[in-house]
C-alpha cells in the first residue's frame, strides 16, 4: 500500500510537470501550427532562473514564504523570452516551408543551450533548502515530501485554469477561432499577430512554470531541455497534438508508465515509453484526442 | 460492356451528403461529361472513384473487380487516372520531367536507382510527344512552377494522360476560366460528349445524350441557366441555379 501511494504520487508529480511542458507545446501548435524545437529550453530557462533566484534569496536568509513567492520567477522569465522570440525569429517563417521553421527553431535550441551554459555555468544549480523546508507529510503510513504535493496541486490548478481560460473566456474564444481558421479570424478583425504572440507567451510561461516548480526537487542541469522536449513529444504523440485534453491524458499516461518503469525495470523505462508512443502512432496516428 | 459501375455510393462530410447513394456507370470507350453546379458532388465522386476518399457505403466496381477497398495506388495501377481541379504538379521539376515521371511510373521503372534516367530514350521521346500533343513542347525544359496558369492546367491533364489509363477523369479542366468563356466551353462539352451525366446536390439528376439533356427542363432550370448554343443567359441580372 505504501509502495502504491508513494509511486502513485510520484507519477502524479511527474505528470504535473509534463502536462505543463506538453500543454504549452500543444497550445502553441494548436493556435499557430508551429512546433518550437527549443520549447524544452524554455522549461530549462524556467528551472535555472528559479533555482538561481531562490538560491540567492535563501542565501540572503529570506523566509520560506518569500521563497515561495519567488518560485514563479522562472515562468515569467521564460514568458519574457518567448515574447521576444516570436516576433523576431518565428514570424518571418510562417509563410515559408515548414523545413525552415524547424531549422530556425533547431538553431534556437543550440543557441539557448549554450546561453544557459554561459550564464549559469556547466554545473547543476540547485534551489537550496526549499524542498527540505517544506517537510514531509504522512500518508497511509508513508512519509512523503510535502513539496511534491504542492507541485501536484500546481499542476491540477494549472490544468483547471487553462481549461477555464480557453473555454470560458472571450480571449479563449478568439484563441480557438484563430486556431481553427486563421484567415477567417483575421477577416473578422482579429489581430492575428497579437494572438500569436500571446499564445506563444502563454505556452512558454507554462513550460517555464514546469521548470520552476520542478527545480526545488531536482537541480537544474544542462541538457534537461532536450530531454524534456523529447518527453513532451511522447506526451503529445500519445495525447494528440494541439489538444489540451490530450496533453492532460498523455501526461498522466506517460507519468504513470514511467513511474512503473522506474520502480520495476529501471533500464528499459525509456524504451517502454517509446514503445507505447510507437503503438499509439500505429493505432491512432493523430493521438488519443488529436485531430488528424 | 461497363468499365466502371458504382452502386449506392455515398459519402458525407458531417451533415453534408456530398454524394448521395449514386449509381454511376461508365462504358468502355465512351466520352462522358459529368456536369453540375458547385457543390453538386462531382469532385467528391471523382475522389471516391480515384481513391482519395473512402466511401461511407456502396461499392465501386472497375473492370469486373470490386475496388472499393483498394488504395489509390492500386487503382492507378488498375488503370484509373485523374487530373486535379486545383493544379497538382511537381513544381521544381521541368514540364518534361513531370510527364516523364508518369511514364516511368506506368512502366514500373521508378524503383530503378542504379541506372541514369536520361538513358531511357523511349520514355523521354514519349514524354516529348505527349507535351507536343498538349501544345507544351516549347516549355519542356521549363520548371512546372514557372509556366502560366492555363499551361499548368494543361500540364496537369497531360501528366494524367501520360499514364495511358483505361479510365481518365478530368476534374474541372476549365475552372479558373472566366464566366464569359464558360458558355463556349459548355458548348464544346455538349458537342463532344456522347453522354452527359448531370449531378445536383449529391445525386444524379439526369443521364442521357446531349440532346436529351438539352431538352430536359429539370436540368435547365436547376442547373445552368445557360443556353447551350453559347450565349450566357442573364435574366433580370441573375444567374439561374446559383
Amino acid at each position: 500500500m505504501e509502495f502504491l501511494v508513494i509511486h502513485g504520487l510520484n507519477a502524479l508529480l511527474y505528470s504535473s510537470v509534463l502536462f505543463l511542458i506538453a500543454g504549452g507545446l500543444s497550445l502553441i501548435y494548436g493556435v499557430m501550427r508551429i512546433i518550437n524545437l527549443a520549447h524544452g529550453n524554455l522549461y530549462a530557462i524556467g528551472a535555472f532562473v528559479t533555482a538561481w533566484t531562490i538560491g540567492a534569496a535563501a542565501n540572503a536568509g529570506a523566509p520560506n514564504a518569500v521563497l515561495l513567492l519567488l518560485l514563479p520567477a522562472g515562468a515569467f522569465a521564460a514568458a519574457a523570452v518567448g515574447a521576444i522570440l516570436e516576433p523576431t525569429l518565428l514570424r518571418p517563417f510562417y509563410k515559408r516551408p515548414e523545413e525552415y521553421q524547424l531549422l530556425v527553431t533547431f538553431g534556437l535550441l543550440m543557441i539557448l543551450e549554450d546561453l544557459i551554459d554561459r550564464v549559469w555555468g556547466p554545473d547543476p544549480l540547485s534551489a537550496g533548502r526549499v524542498y527540505e523546508n517544506f517537510g514531509s507529510i504522512t500518508i497511509s503510513g508513508a512519509r512523503y515530501p510535502a513539496y511534491n504535493l504542492a507541485v501536484i496541486a500546481v499542476g491540477i490548478i494549472a490544468a483547471l485554469f487553462l481549461w477555464a481560460f480557453i473555454y470560458r473566456t472571450r480571449f479563449g474564444v478568439v484563441l480557438r477561432a484563430t486556431s481553427q481558421n486563421m484567415r477567417m479570424a483575421s477577416a473578422l478583425g482579429v489581430n492575428v499577430n497579437r494572438i500569436y504572440i500571446q499564445a506563444f507567451t502563454i505556452g512558454c510561461f507554462m513550460a517555464g512554470l514546469g521548470g520552476a516548480i520542478v527545480v526545488p526537487g531536482q537541480s537544474a542541469v544542462l541538457g534537461m531541455g532536450v530531454d524534456a522536449l523529447i518527453l513532451a513529444f511522447v506526451v503529445v504523440v500519445i495525447g494528440g497534438l494541439g489538444s489540451l485534453e490530450g496533453a492532460f491524458a498523455g501526461a498522466l499516461i506517460v507519468g504513470f508508465v514511467r513511474e512503473a518503469g522506474v520502480a520495476l525495470f529501471p533500464e528499459i523505462e525509456l524504451a517502454v515509453l517509446y514503445l507505447i508512443a510507437a503503438i499509439v502512432l500505429f493505432v491512432r496516428p493523430a493521438g488519443l484526442f488529436g485531430r488528424a | 460492356m461497363s468499365l466502371l459501375t458504382t452502386r449506392a455510393l455515398a459519402k458525407s462530410f458531417g451533415e453534408n451528403r456530398a454524394v448521395n447513394s449514386v449509381d454511376f456507370v461508365v462504358k468502355q470507350g465512351e466520352v462522358l461529361s459529368l456536369i453540375g453546379s458547385n457543390g453538386a458532388g462531382k469532385t467528391t465522386l471523382v475522389n471516391l472513384i480515384s481513391g482519395l476518399y473512402r466511401p461511407d457505403s456502396g461499392s465501386i466496381v472497375f473492370e469486373e473487380r470490386d475496388v472499393s477497398r483498394q488504395s489509390s495506388y492500386e487503382r492507378i495501377k488498375s488503370g484509373i487516372a485523374r487530373s486535379f481541379q486545383l493544379v497538382n504538379l511537381f513544381d521544381q521539376l521541368s514540364c518534361l520531367d513531370n510527364v516523364a515521371l508518369s511514364i516511368f511510373s506506368r512502366e514500373g521503372k521508378t524503383l530503378k536507382l542504379a541506372t541514369l534516367a536520361s538513358r531511357d530514350r523511349a520514355v523521354w521521346e514519349e514524354a516529348q510527344g505527349v507535351l507536343r500533343q498538349f501544345g507544351l513542347d516549347g516549355k519542356a525544359a521549363i520548371t512546372a512552377g514557372a509556366i502560366s496558369h492555363g499551361e499548368r492546367k494543361l500540364l496537369d491533364v497531360a501528366v494524367a494522360y501520360a499514364l495511358r489509363p483505361k479510365l481518365l477523369f478530368l476534374d474541372e479542366p476549365t475552372s479558373g476560366v472566366s464566366t464569359r468563356e464558360k458558355a463556349p466551353i459548355m458548348d464544346i462539352v455538349f458537342r463532344y460528349s456522347e453522354r452527359i451525366v448531370v449531378m445536383h446536390q449529391g445525386s444524379i439528376l439526369a443521364d442521357g445524350t446531349p440532346d436529351e439533356i438539352r431538352r430536359n427542363d429539370e436540368v435547365t432550370t436547376t442547373l445552368i441557366g445557360t443556353h447551350v448554343t453559347g450565349e450566357p443567359a442573364f435574366e433580370n441580372g441573375n444567374h439561374a441555379g446559383r
Partner: protein
C-alpha cells in the same frame, strides 16, 4: 532530344570539368603538398562529406528533414569498435561491410516508424530515436565503454598491414583510401539522384498527392531513401572511427545530428555538391573556431539562424547567384 538540350548538356559538362578537374588534382596531391595536420582535416571533411551527402538524399531530394542522423553515423563507428574489441577484426573492408549492414538494419528499423510521418513529426521522431540509441550507449557502458569510449586502432587496408608510424599511415595510405571511398560514394549518389528513383523522390518532395496519383508508393520510396541515407552515414562513421582512434557517445548525441543538418544548410541543400561543400567548409571552420570559443553551440546556432533567414540556399546558392550575375551582366 532536341539539339538545344544536347548542346546545353555538353556545355554544363564542360563547365563542371572547369572546376572539378583542379579540385581533383588538388585532392590527389594534397598529402604531398600540405602537412599531415591539413591532410587530416581534409580527411575529416571528406568523411563528413559522405555523411551529409547521404543526409541530403532525404532533405534536398525527398523533402524530409532528419534530426537524428548521428544514429547511423554512430552505428557505423561503434560497429567498427565492436568488431575490433569482440571479434578481433582489423580489416577495413570488413569494417565497411559490417558498418553498412548495421546502419542499414538500424535505419530500416527507425525508418519504418519515421516515414509514416512528415515534416515536424518526422523530424522529432528521428531526434527521439537517435537519443534512444545514445542513451543505450550510456546505460550499457560495460559493452560500449560509456563516456570513455572504445579504442579503434589503425586498420589494414586491402590486406596490407598499416605502417608503424600512425601519422604517416593516416596522412598517406589511409588518406587515399578515404579519398577512393569518397569518390565511389559521390558517384553512387550521383547515379541514384539522376535515376528514375531519384526523380520519383523529387516528385514526392514536390507534391505527395500527385506522386501517389501517378502510382508511386510514397512510404516505400521514402523508406528506401531513408535506408540509403543511413547507409551512407554508416560508411562515413566507419571511416571516421580509425581516423579518430576512439568511438565515443559524442558521435551519437543530438548535437552531432545538428552539425550534419548545419553542414547541409551551410553548403546549400538544394544542390548536389552543396552538402560536400558545406561539410568541408564546416570542418575547417570548426577546427579554427573551436580554438576561439568554448561556446561552439551558440556560434553554430546563430549562424544557422542567420543562414535560414538570409541565405537559405547556402554557399552553393550564393555561387549560383554570382555565376548568374557574371553570365548576364545587366
Amino acid at each position: 532530344m532536341s539539339a538545344d538540350l544536347t548542346m546545353q548538356k555538353h556545355r554544363s559538362l564542360l563547365l563542371t570539368l572547369v572546376w572539378a578537374a583542379p579540385v581533383a588534382v588538388a585532392l590527389l596531391a594534397a598529402p604531398h603538398v600540405v602537412g599531415p595536420f591539413h591532410t587530416l582535416t581534409l580527411m575529416y571533411g571528406l568523411v563528413f562529406g559522405i555523411a551529409v551527402l547521404g543526409f541530403n538524399l532525404l532533405l534536398g531530394y525527398t523533402g524530409l528533414l532528419s534530426f537524428g542522423h548521428s544514429a547511423y553515423f554512430g552505428a557505423g563507428a561503434y560497429t567498427v569498435a565492436f568488431m575490433v574489441k569482440y571479434f578481433k577484426v582489423a580489416s577495413m573492408e570488413l569494417f565497411l561491410a559490417g558498418s553498412v549492414l548495421i546502419s542499414v538494419i538500424i535505419s530500416l528499423l527507425f525508418g519504418v516508424v519515421c516515414v509514416r510521418y512528415t515534416k515536424i513529426f518526422f523530424g522529432i521522431l528521428t531526434l527521439a530515436l537517435s537519443q534512444v540509441l545514445w542513451s543505450l550507449a550510456f546505460k550499457f557502458f560495460w559493452v560500449t565503454g560509456g563516456t570513455d569510449g572504445l579504442r579503434v586502432p589503425t586498420p589494414s587496408l586491402l590486406g596490407t598491414a598499416p605502417l608503424a608510424d600512425k601519422m604517416e599511415f593516416l596522412a598517406f595510405q589511409y588518406y587515399y583510401y578515404v579519398l577512393a571511398v569518397f569518390t565511389v560514394c559521390v558517384i553512387v549518389m550521383w547515379v541514384i539522384v539522376h535515376s528514375p528513383f531519384g526523380k520519383a523522390l523529387q516528385a514526392i518532395r514536390d507534391n505527395e498527392t500527385r506522386a501517389e496519383f501517378i502510382g508511386i508508393r510514397i512510404r516505400r520510396y521514402r523508406l528506401i531513401a531513408f535506408v540509403v541515407s543511413g547507409a551512407f552515414a554508416g560508411v562515413a562513421g566507419a571511416l571516421w572511427a580509425p581516423l579518430n582512434g576512439l568511438a565515443t557517445p559524442d558521435v551519437l548525441v543530438w548535437t552531432f545530428s545538428g552539425e550534419i543538418v548545419f553542414m547541409a544548410v551551410l553548403g546549400g541543400f538544394n544542390s548536389f555538391i552543396g552538402p560536400i561543400v558545406g561539410a568541408m567548409a564546416f570542418t575547417y571552420l570548426k577546427t579554427y573556431a573551436v580554438g576561439f570559443t568554448v561556446y561552439w553551440q551558440l556560434l553554430l546556432g546563430t549562424v544557422l539562424v542567420v543562414l535560414v533567414l538570409a541565405l537559405p540556399k547556402g554557399i552553393m546558392g550564393m555561387v549560383e547567384l554570382l555565376v548568374a550575375k557574371v553570365r548576364r551582366p545587366r
